[in-house]
């Protein structure tokens, strides 16, 4: 009791003495501990944990991307957690980029045709005319190879959560591959050779994307990768066809009424129309944001 009272009375005055006493006495601690501690938490061990997580991820991977992604993330996040990380953005970005690479590996288009695969003919009005007609015929002939079918299949499958609509997908992807082959088989004016290769590869990629989308119900991550690839490629394809249509128009290639190539003018018009709609949509978005900002500013 006496001690406690004395401590209470004199506590404030003697703090510095106490601190210095502790420091001076405890500074003599065996520094080998520090070295051991440092070595035990060395970076190489942390790396080993990451490597171990990667190995386990590989071992735990399945043919189902959704499952694989889930397992991989559990392990990698566990490894990060073991290093006191995981909740910080750089670590999450690093982990997510690794996982994203897994999906990207599936959704990346893989070109199958090169310039050497096409038969080129000299540039001329006649060859331009013939190629435009041939390309149109190829596209129209492959009736399953169209965006509406792709989207109706994937849309109905996801709406109904059933694989039934996917029974069509092989026909669709098959037609896209057939379309690609037909394009490559066309006599291509030299100036349009890159376009022909580009279009053929795009249709092959769409076919690949259809294959991936077929797995949407059982493996939605793969389905999503397919949808991603399809979306990107289909947009590119739309623009590339518009570029071709514009080139035909600028080249002054004329088509008789009812001739397949006559559709290119309509297509280009439609493309410009939808571009205008896009611009209007963006404009509306901007206006919406401005309104939002203004209302936010007024409420400040």
């Amino acid at each position: 009791m006496v001690c406690a009272a004395w401590w209470y009375v004199s506590a404030d005055k003697n703090t510095a003495t106490l601190e210095s006493a502790k420091i001076s006495n405890l500074a003599a601690v065996d520094t080998a501990w520090q070295q051991e501690f440092s070595s035990s938490t060395a970076m190489d061990r942390a790396n080993a944990l990451d490597e171990q997580a990667q190995k386990l991820s590989d071992a735990a991977s399945t043919s189902n991307l959704t499952q694989t992604v889930g397992r991989s993330l559990v392990l990698k996040l566990a490894a990060a957690q073991g290093q006191g990380l995981g909740s910080d953005q750089p670590t999450q970005d690093k982990i997510m980029s690794g996982v994203y690479a897994q999906i990207q590996g599936l959704s990346q288009p893989h070109p199958k045709y090169t310039a050497s695969d096409v038969t080129t003919v000299p540039d001329s009005t006649a060859t331009f005319h013939a190629f435009a007609n041939g390309l149109t015929t190829a596209i129209v002939t492959h009736k399953y190879a169209n965006n509406s079918n792709v989207l109706y299949v994937i849309g109905s499958a996801t709406d109904q959560n059933t694989t039934v609509p996917f029974t069509i997908m092989p026909k669709v992807s098959g037609d896209y591959r057939g379309l690609a082959r037909d394009i490559i088989a066309l006599p291509v004016p030299a100036s349009f050779a890159p376009t022909a290769v580009l279009l053929a590869n795009e249709y092959m990629s769409i076919a690949d994307a259809c294959d991936l989308m077929e797995k949407t119900i059982s493996d939605p991550a793969t389905g999503m990768a397919g949808l991603q690839e399809y979306s990107l490629v289909a947009h590119s394809n739309e623009a590339d066809l518009a570029t071709f249509a514009q080139a035909i128009k600028r080249a002054g290639i004329a088509f008789a009424k009812g001739e397949p190539g006559s559709q290119w003018a309509d297509y280009y018009a439609m493309y410009q129309s939808t571009a205008a709609e896009r611009a209007a949509a963006v404009q509306g978005e901007i206006q919406g944001n401005q309104t939002l900002l203004q209302s936010g500013a007024q409420s400040q």
Binding site: A4, A48, Q52, G70, H142, K143, S156, V164, S231
Partner: protein, 652 residues
């Protein structure tokens, strides 16, 4: 501009879903914080310590708008479809270029039926016309001949535009078909990742040979690093600075010893303390008092306190991953009583009993013979997680449904995962209701009490079955004992007769001849009797009966013990978790040690009963035969005659 998936977007889909799993499995977010009834706060994940998954990209950081009136896109229900939702845009765009003769001027009002026939017709190659009767189609019909006839969209007027009309499909960006589909798939990804991962863990990682042996090492390493991170972290801020380094080192040393070679970190700390103690003049009384009154103000207290914390951290890092949550067996399966109904004894009689299949019963402790009967549902934390995920996902769907733009869909996915799922999901798990009151978070003694209490009648019933079985064994053994006793007495009688003298001699005088008749067991019979007269069987049987009686006594004692335990359990309130915990622990230990007879013990007894009774029946039969044989043995008589010599006349 129309990039459908941003890199960050797809990352966040996956990250969001996995962070859910991650948070449940690894981080060990203190459930108590949620159990306090805190409402989930959408959009405040950072403030709540939830990892910030929002990327710094431009697309995913904008808050998405909530429109409660937006149509619901529900996977698998077909109530509202991506196709129907997108058809207006599609039709509008396509009909604007009617001159091209687009054939997609259809609206699938009766989508559910139409799509089936559509698919069938596509398979068969038949041209299909789908319902064209509504307003949208009217617009389409007015636009061109192709649409007027409801031409099939897959054939017929196939054109370049038809094949490449992505712009038309996406022109209405807000509810474009692709956005709708992507939203639906994104939700499916979240669900499947979460559920498949949990199933994977629940299944013991599918027993993968290459995985299972290594994961333990992996998680142990994770625990190592959790310890390292802790040691290096800021948790030491509360310590007085002069001790900080030393304690940190001591714990590092201790942990190193814990995982590798034995060491004496505490001794090391003690040396430091001794250094202070040996130089008392350095701090004097003030230092002494300060040193001894605040636990974390001295190395001993600090060390022990920190060790406790680090053990907790290690448990979080390793135990939560490996034992509690990882292996399927690690999930503590529990039973949950549902639909409980109380019956008085009279009610039970009136009802003619209750089918107890899949039910538990708990007798009233007041001796009234009333009982509470409940449906027993087997639940596991894994199920709890799944259910909670399901609920949380459902909650988050609203956000998914209402996201206007695809980028916002992604953002919505992350947001709903980070808030609704992490908070709502976990809080619902620790809410003490439903599956949530399982082994996560603070111990739910009430449920444990019910679980224990409900299991006691079963053990009592088992003990009673054992008693009944052993009593039957004893009854049969007693019957056998009588037969064996009679048998042994018979033989012993012969043996005794043989030993006493073996013969009875009777002499008679007939016609001057002495006839001597000797009666006794033949030596061979004596030998046989000696052989069969052993009391070994009787002794052994008596011992067996004694053992059976011991089992009965033990079972009776167990019943008494269980009844007493039940009474004690009933009278120990939830407000005394220490006592309740001790009771439950004791019960669990007794169960583990086989003190309480489980169904296996009953089965063993019943199987043994069959064997024993068969043996006793055989024994009885043998004894009866032996007794019969014994009784058949009769003393044998031998006769001999002796003629006395003629009398000699007297010579006087």
């Amino acid at each position: 501009m129309y990039t459908f998936f941003s890199k960050h977007g797809i990352q966040q889909i996956i990250a969001g879903a996995l962070l859910l799993v991650y948070t449940i499995l690894i981080t060990g977010i203190p459930l108590e914080a949620y159990a306090a009834g805190q409402a989930p706060v959408t959009g405040q994940s950072q403030n709540l310590g939830i990892p910030n998954m929002k990327n710094s990209g431009t697309s995913a950081t904008a808050p998405f708008s909530m429109n409660q009136n937006a149509p619901a896109v529900t996977l698998g229900t077909g109530v509202v479809s991506c196709l129907v939702g997108a058809t207006l845009t599609l039709t509008s765009s396509l009909t604007s270029s009617a001159a091209a003769g687009f054939g997609i001027g259809t609206t699938l009002t009766n989508f559910g039926n139409a799509i089936v026939s559509w698919v069938q017709d596509l398979i068969s190659g038949k041209t299909t016309s789908v319902d064209t009767s509504n307003e949208r189609n009217t617009r389409s019909s007015a636009a061109g001949a192709g649409a007027q006839t409801g031409q099939a969209y897959n054939a017929g007027a196939n054109t370049i535009a038809n094949n490449t009309s992505m712009g038309a499909l996406l022109a209405g960006r807000e509810e474009g078909m692709l956005g709708c589909i992507a939203r639906t798939i994104a939700r499916a990804i979240l669900q499947q990742i979460a559920i498949s991962t949990i199933n994977w863990i629940n299944s013991g990682f599918n027993g993968s040979p290459s995985f299972v042996p290594n994961y333990q090492t992996f998680f142990q390493n994770a625990a190592d690093y959790a310890a390292g991170a802790f040691i290096q972290g800021t948790d030491f801020a509360f310590l007085c600075s002069p001790f900080q380094l030393q304690i940190r080192i001591a714990i590092a040393k201790s942990y190193a010893g814990y995982s590798r070679t034995p060491s004496c970190s505490l001794t090391g700390v003690t040396n430091n303390v001794n250094a202070f103690m040996n130089r008392f003049d350095q701090g004097g009384w003030q230092a002494f008092v300060s040193f001894t009154t605040t636990p974390t103000n001295n190395p001993f207290g600090g060390f022990l306190y920190m060790q406790g914390m680090i053990q907790g951290k290690m448990a979080d890092a390793a135990g939560k991953k490996r034992n509690d949550l990882s292996m399927g067996s690690g999930f503590l399966s529990t039973t949950q009583s549902q639909n409980c109904q109380h019956y008085t004894a009279q009610q039970m009689l009136d009802k003619g009993g209750v089918d107890m299949a899949g039910k538990s019963q708990a007798w009233d402790t007041d001796g009234s013979n009333g009982q509470t009967v409940c449906d027993e549902v087997q639940v596991t934390p894994g199920r709890a997680i799944g259910d909670s995920l399901s609920n949380a996902t459902k909650t988050g769907q609203d956000e998914l449904i209402n996201a206007k733009y695809f980028d916002e869909i992604i953002n919505a996915l992350v947001t709903q995962l980070m808030t609704n799922m992490l908070q709502g999901g976990l809080s619902s798990m620790s809410a003490g209701s439903g599956y949530g009151s399982n082994s996560y978070g603070s111990t739910n003694y009430s449920q444990l009490r019910n679980s224990v209490s409900n299991s006691i009648p079963g053990y009592i019933q088992n003990a009673q079955q054992i008693i009944a079985a052993e009593q039957q064994n004893i009854a049969v053994a007693s019957s056998s004992m009588a037969v064996i006793t009679a048998q042994e007495a018979c033989w012993m009688n012969i043996v005794n007769s043989c030993q006493v003298g073996a013969t009875t001699t009777i002499r008679t005088l007939t016609n001057g001849t002495i006839v001597t008749t000797t009666t006794g067991y033949a030596p061979a019979d004596c030998a046989t009797a000696a052989q069969n007269a052993s009391s070994t069987m009787q002794t052994n049987l008596a011992q067996a009966v004694q053992q059976l009686q011991g089992i009965i006594d033990q079972a009776s004692s167990t019943i008494d013990s269980l009844n007493a335990f039940q009474a004690q359990l009933t009278t120990t309130p939830d407000t005394n978790p220490t006592a309740l915990g001790q009771l439950i622990t004791m019960f669990s230990q007794n169960v583990s040690n086989g003190v309480y007879p489980d169904n296996g013990a009953v089965n063993n007894v019943l199987e043994a009963q069959t064997v024993v009774q068969g043996q006793l029946a055989q024994l009885q039969q043998n004894s009866t035969s032996s007794t019969t044989a014994c009784l058949a043995i009769k003393p044998q008589s031998t006769t001999s005659t002796t003629t006395p010599n003629a009398p000699v006349p007297r010579s006087n």
